[in-house]
Subunit: 433 residues, 2 copies
């Protein structure tokens, strides 16, 4: 049996003291508030699922990067690395929910990956999804939610939404003869930001493209900037096929809607945004800090085939999922992280053992008004109670003493100004409102 | 690769739709509110820990009832079945936090056990603990928190706190010569509520007690009722040793404090309450529904040796941990479970495509006032928008139409009364406050 030794927490896992938790709770509450304003409803999901649920969407390779194991009943199970497959099952099993279905959740996720700055093995993530609606209006609303989240966190200047439509990119590349190695080329584009331009061109040539084609891919994926500037440039590149023109028109409509939502200034077009290849079918986006020195804050996009792949009816879907790790890095860099400070509204100090009972009654009456109230539990004297009250950041002290009580009074001391006041016990309940 | 098949969630795991989540969130908010009123601070803990962290406290046998496995790095890890060992580590590693330390958390836990009514494999639990304070005042405050929780949930009549002090029970049993088989006897008492009286007596005889001794144990553990009635009976039984008398006096003091906290009526003494043998050192309690047909809602007590056992400094501790499962059963039985109903404050209905932009602007201005607002994402006509608005429980409809807009107005319809009113766009922002 192990004893007396230090058992540390696992690498890539975090524990939070009250101050850290107060800041974190504020962030989470902001993200919740945004969801609610747009009519998203909270759902709750299991943290452990049959492993095969993730095999369908992600394949064996990605499942390697999860916490998967055989449970004591011999079932292969996985600590959820994401929530989409679970949501797909819930959509499928609840056919009578009116569409569009707008769901959000605040969940923990786990991935067995090497830890880096902003990448942990256990992390929190909000998931926002709209199911059952394939329109560009739904795309625009998801982006509006993302911008509103940035605004709630004060990050609307420090970060921006980088948007692409994969169908446009693919059709442009096809027109230039890049067809057979499309998947490989998209993968290379997805890694573009990690490479120098020379490396990028070399990778494309290695994938079988001519030097000329590589340069075209480079040029196309360099295309980024605000909608006003980029749309005309893009129009010239869009091939003369029905699909491409439709995708381009949809992007124009998206621009117009984002303007109506008053979020267009927070968005740019960026033809290098791919979001991996797994399952996105149209519009994709990522949120980056404008200085570009952090990983993406989060990403999202449209995935219209996934629910069907997972065994449900064909159901269009669009969503995004901000995690807590990179948001925390960015907010701290921008000095926007909430103060990590615990507070107590009132400490009820008893001057002597004889007034203990009365002090507990006073504490109770204040708690009944939803104030955060502490009392002495340790039999401390006046000075030590005062010291503790100070250390737990008490705003007001209610001092219960025998002589005051004889007059039916207590002393209220403001811990910031130091001012003291005699207050009638009967009017104490109203005093703090 | 698996396709097109039904992958169900695991047995003993739950998923929650928005209605269920709204009710659940209310319960959790109540439990959070109680913690805050008493000055408890929220902490956050990892869901996965090194397995040996649980071996120390619970031993190999209990670890068998957990989700434990080797991670991809070969580490033996466990999905947390409880939070106390993690908290013990946090107390140990943060020596400068002022004592008493009062922590709460809202966490998920996992146990690999056979599922029953009110016992699941994945469940939520609030943990409330006071560390660094061994006084009876801390015991009383923890019980006061538990009663306040019942009151917040409306369960103060439907459930009660059953309190014991294990030192008193042990000293009484010792006096009657029951010493060598004490652990076994306590185990049998712990299971008493699951047995008939005859079974109980037989088990005690099997454990080596004489028939007479068995009857004494039965009599002592039958002792239960309100403090006023039981304390005199108990006084007669308390052996004449310093330890026993001290424990008895502490119970008297607890009674007095519970009275000051105004929670005495919600508490009874019950000498059969043991709370397992693992680590409790003094006062223990369980919360039961007064009709007695459900499992315990939760339990708690004093555990003054555990932090030291886990490698920290000697640190007294008292706490309790209500889970969500039995509370839900009881609240539903008592018709106290919150309504599982989603609500939308405003649906902004656009009469035609031409006013779409305006309707999005109206929606934005209402969201800026923190209202929960939905708009059409599907290009639906008037009637279908009305139908959707109904299905998502909209309270007010804002109808944006061309003719109204020409006059700078919209129509506001109350979805309950059906009343309609023309409202100037400029005064719409104030209209819903």
């Amino acid at each position: 049996m192990v004893k007396d030794q230090d058992i540390q927490k696992l690498k890539g896992f975090r524990e939070f003291l009250p101050g850290e938790m107060i800041a974190r709770r504020k962030i989470f509450d902001s993200m919740r508030k945004v969801a609610e304003k747009f009519g998203f409803r909270e759902i709750g999901t299991p943290s452990l699922e049959p492993m095969e649920l993730f095999m369908i969407k992600s394949g064996e390779e990605l499942v390697q990067q999860t916490y998967s194991f055989k449970d004591k009943g011999g079932r292969e199970v996985t600590l959820i690395p994401e929530e989409t497959p679970t949501r797909a099952r819930m959509v499928k099993e609840n056919k009578d929910v009116p569409k569009p279905i707008k769901w959000f959740s605040e969940s923990k996720f786990w991935r067995y990956e090497s830890t880096q700055r902003g990448r942990l093995r256990e992390f929190y993530q909000f998931n926002y999804d709209i199911f059952g609606e394939g329109s560009v209006e739904a795309d625009a609303e998801i982006i509006a939610v993302a911008v509103e989240m940035l605004k709630e966190l004060g990050l609307e200047k420090a970060a921006e939404i980088r948007i692409n439509d994969r169908r446009i990119l693919e059709s442009i590349l096809s027109t230039y003869g890049i067809k057979q190695s499309m998947v490989e080329v998209l993968n290379i584009i997805d890694d573009k930001e990690k490479m120098s331009q020379k490396e990028f061109l070399n990778e494309l040539v290695d994938a079988g493209l001519s030097k000329k084609e590589s340069k075209i891919v480079n040029k196309v994926t360099e295309l980024s900037g605000n909608f006003e500037d980029v749309m005309p440039e893009l129009e010239e590149l869009v091939p003369d096929s029905d699909d491409s023109i439709e995708a381009y028109k949809r992007l124009l409509k998206l621009k117009e809607l984002l303007d109506s939502y008053d979020v267009l200034d927070n968005c740019v077009i960026d033809l290098s945004i791919i979001r991996g290849l797994a399952y996105y079918t149209g519009m994709v986006f990522e949120i980056f800090d404008t200085e570009g020195d952090l990983r993406a804050l989060c990403g999202g996009g449209r995935y219209d085939d996934l629910i069907e792949t997972l065994g449900g009816e064909k159901t269009p879907a669009v969503g995004f999922a901000p995690g807590d790790a990179v948001i925390e890095l960015l907010m701290k860099r921008e000095n926007l992280w909430p103060e990590e400070e615990v507070e107590t509204d009132v400490y009820v100090l008893n001057v002597s053992e004889s007034v203990k009972r009365k002090s507990l009654e006073v504490a109770k009456s204040l708690r009944d008004q939803d104030l955060r109230v502490e009392v002495d539990l340790s039999g401390r004297n006046f000075g030590n109670q005062m010291g503790y009250a100070n250390r737990i950041n008490t705003k007001k002290l209610v001092i219960v003493g025998e002589r005051d009580l004889e007059k039916g009074e207590v002393t209220v001391k403001d811990m910031v100004s130091g001012e003291e006041e005699q207050v009638d016990l009967k009017s104490l309940e109203g005093y703090f409102q």
